[in-house]
Symmetry: C2
Subunit: 394 residues, 2 copies
Amino acid sequence: MTVELTEAEQLRHDLMAEKHAQAKSLLREQDIDCWLTFSREGSDCLLPYVMGGEYLVGTAALMLFAEGPSVAVVADYDVGQVDGIFDHVLPYSLDWREPFHDTLRECNPATIGINHSIANEGVDGITHGMYLKLLDALEPLGYANRLVSSEAVSGRVRAIKSTGEIELIRRACEITQRIFDDLTGMLRPGLTEAQIAEIIRERMQTYEVGPSWEASYCPTVSSSRSRRGHTPPGAVALEPGDGLAVDFGVIREGYASDLMWSWYFRKPGETAPPAEMAHAFEAVRDGIDLAASILKPGIRGVEVDSPARALLQERGYVFTHGLGHQVGRTAHDGGMMLGPNNARYGDRSSGIVEAGMVFTLEPVVTWVGLEDNVLVTDTGCEFLNTPQREIIMI
Amino acid sequence: MTVELTEAEQLRHDLMAEKHAQAKSLLREQDIDCWLTFSREGSDCLLPYVMGGEYLVGTAALMLFAEGPSVAVVADYDVGQVDGIFDHVLPYSLDWREPFHDTLRECNPATIGINHSIANEGVDGITHGMYLKLLDALEPLGYANRLVSSEAVSGRVRAIKSTGEIELIRRACEITQRIFDDLTGMLRPGLTEAQIAEIIRERMQTYEVGPSWEASYCPTVSSSRSRRGHTPPGAVALEPGDGLAVDFGVIREGYASDLMWSWYFRKPGETAPPAEMAHAFEAVRDGIDLAASILKPGIRGVEVDSPARALLQERGYVFTHGLGHQVGRTAHDGGMMLGPNNARYGDRSSGIVEAGMVFTLEPVVTWVGLEDNVLVTDTGCEFLNTPQREIIMI
């Protein structure tokens, strides 16, 4: 009998069909015969891209091939997690090696890509113990020397979003902005940073979404005043004359947003923020616009970061962090980024932008925060959220 | 000025003081000079035991020494996570290698334990990419050949609970039982498995706790009837004559419980469950009692599993899974377990029980589920929850 899939399960199956097709095409392009994700008890950050979930309990070998059907060797109690996602599911009750050996012998891949990388933590999934366990298992086959890094495939599977994934990030941005809009209606002088964070948390519950990074600092609520005094986090109450920036994102149906907006609490009679704040905000906004006008496939990360950084410097501001990171299943999705060419970011900033990547643009200066999420298209980029154009007055 | 710690922060600091003292003593005992946890973007499952949190963004080298002060090399933006936890915090803004090299040169450890293990996923924390990155960084010092597995230390730091940790697991058990009690009051014929799961989820919100494993199947609600028919998960409505088992645990203040209780929905006039159910329940309960009477320091996991398995077999039941796993920050805490000596569990079941370990005892047969959490003491073991003695009648 056919069991009907729930909506969430159907979504997972559809996404995985997209990602497996993408992986197969990349395997051929990169001349890697097999992509192996080797996991136990949820180890390996690539699991969501290969099976659409974060956890398999037993030792699992998930294999996608350049040619031929995909194969999942999983413990019998894990079958439900991969059923319908892989062409062949080979359950074991005691010994995973047997079906694993049989599969490899039959397919005889000349190269087996496994998930490790020095530079890109986003595809550095296999633990060192699992690597040693794999070597030990490959030894009787004489295949240990066939191992290569999967990075050229797995890095792109992670970074280059499919149609379904883009739609989900767009929806995460939508909810985030709705929460910002709700917040705007609720802001009033006297609220502390901690109370503002609490309002946002309550909204997340209402919309049934989770925070897109560590809950204890998502949202990050900071007032223009909290930088000046030594106060415990969250204690500053917003007063007329204060600015407010909220850095916040949500996870919805497995995909993240990462946005920042800025507000100003007007003093009696004021119709605009103080010139100094407006100036900082405009610098940030213009920096984002400039970066967005440059961002396109084929350009290096540093080539997007540098002009934006120079523009802000001309306006009198310095920001020390990178201009933007990737967004996907997590707010900080690893791999190449839009950053300066220094010891902290250099390796990652020299990478090449590709169509289908999603980046933040976030040149934060003084207290003023503005952060947008953009999708790289074939010819340039597209905002996935509606960019804030001026400081919101409260 | 001194910033007062929040209650949660104070708890974290106290726990880490306990764990660092334990680690130091184990380092001396095991003759390992330095225990290095090498992480980035939350990689390494040992982070919670070393710094009391799950996430450091930048590349971090957290070092505990058999002799001398502890040192954390972390990115400047991560300092807040380790401040007050380590004796020396060395922040870097660009290059982590410099303070890392300085520390190692000064301490000159003959052996450096890093987190990897083939058998124990609970201490298999370093990714293969990070291992390669570490080798590369140690090369100029000529220290690469000083690396050993930290398992003898890290495995015990994870498995052997401190006073504070035991208290937290006990509290997680308490809340779980309170939720079971609440559920007992709300159960009535006609509720589906999915609706029962929903009641439990609502209770978790009320008590502000999270599920102790993957939310989609924590709780696992199964009726005696759902095994018989091909129905979508959760669809079976409980009717008079049905049994119900709920496998469920919570995370509270970072520590988990993992319990199971059983209920029976009486038919008109019934005062006890059918003989067959009662018989299964008694077998399970007696199996747990037998295991608890045997469990003590020095015994091997398989020596606890075997007699319980034999008792159940005498009563006519077979269970294929292990008798019990460890519990700690996660419901399935890795390492040695109470299991049979077979290809699936053998390595882990041959390990030795030590005082301070916490195990589940869960010999589930047919639909009947019962699962308790026990702490190994110096002379035997102690239940951390109040064990269920008979099937609860609804």
